[in-house]
Subunit: 145 residues, 2 copies
DNA sequence: TATATTTATTGTCAAATGATAACTAAAAGG
DNA sequence: CCTTTTAGTTATCATTTGACAATAAATATA
């Protein structure tokens, strides 16, 4: 297979995955958070605590706008702020209990949908699937890591 | 591996792919189209001609808002409209030459980035990669198709 | 210490997006 | 025909998001 065909396959794959992940997390609409706020919560979930600068980098948002969205999330009691003791300019954000609960709801629903999708797979197929995920991660998505 | 661990792996995988695809298509910022308009163009690219209703479904946009964005794309000369002869209520949209050119620029840049990422892979690894993409598509993303 | 840099916040404005009502034209179905 | 349904458009308004200037506070550095 040529590189260009592989690229087309990769594009189609990406589109499919995007569609599926959108479907799996459609539960977010029930929650009182905007798409950007959800992305921030998602990022917090995997790497708390996080500073506004880190969020801005990762979510691709300017620092002022990140600050604004964090304020809104705090007003909704979905995250908490604390000052870093070693550098008191830095603010450390983490999910609040309510924020955790929200993410548990959304992720729980997603996991349910995911497991329906893989319900018919045999143990062998599950292992193949896991290896396929690992391979793409290692060879393409995170080649350095 | 348990189902819940596989789900976590799937979530991490999705996050990585999202990040990479965002990086690969960062050339869009150079173009005079909004994110939603780009998604419409992307959809047109793979399945033209398309009707406003189809776009609304696929891009998850209301029909009135779809109509508005299509008008803007037409004003930018990025797509063309024609009435369906068999049902004159239906409007058929396709990329204009300018729209094609835009997508060629963006996709060309993405392909270049992709090929840099896979540049070091051996022929065997490329084949493994291709099979991994196919496997995930078939077993998880498009189980019915 | 004095200055520069980093981190974060606030405020403001423009643009993009979402939601909804009102309307036209064509087709479908009685 | 006449009514209903479908596809699309236009207009309007609220909310979200993006961009940028100005500021404060803590740290780093000369």
């Amino acid at each position: 297979m040529e590189h260009s065909m592989l690229f087309e396959k990769f594009v189609a794959f990406t589109a499919s995955l995007h569609e599926v992940s959108h479907e799996l997390t459609r539960g977010v609409k029930q929650e009182d958070v905007t798409p950007i706020q959800y992305r921030i919560l998602e990022y917090m979930m995997v790497s708390q605590p996080v500073t506004p600068s880190e969020i801005a980098d990762c979510v691709d948002l300017s620092l002022p706008n990140t600050s604004r969205e964090l304020r809104k999330l705090m007003e909704k009691n979905l995250c908490e702020k604390a000052t870093d003791d070693t550098d008191r300019r830095r603010q450390l954000f983490r999910l609040s209990p309510d924020g955790q609960a929200l993410m548990n709801r959304v992720m729980g629903q997603a996991q349910q949908g995911f497991q329906q999708r893989i319900a018919d797979l045999t143990a062998d197929e599950l292992q193949e699937l896991e290896q396929a995920l690992t391979l793409i991660q290692r060879k393409v998505l995170r080649p350095k890591a």
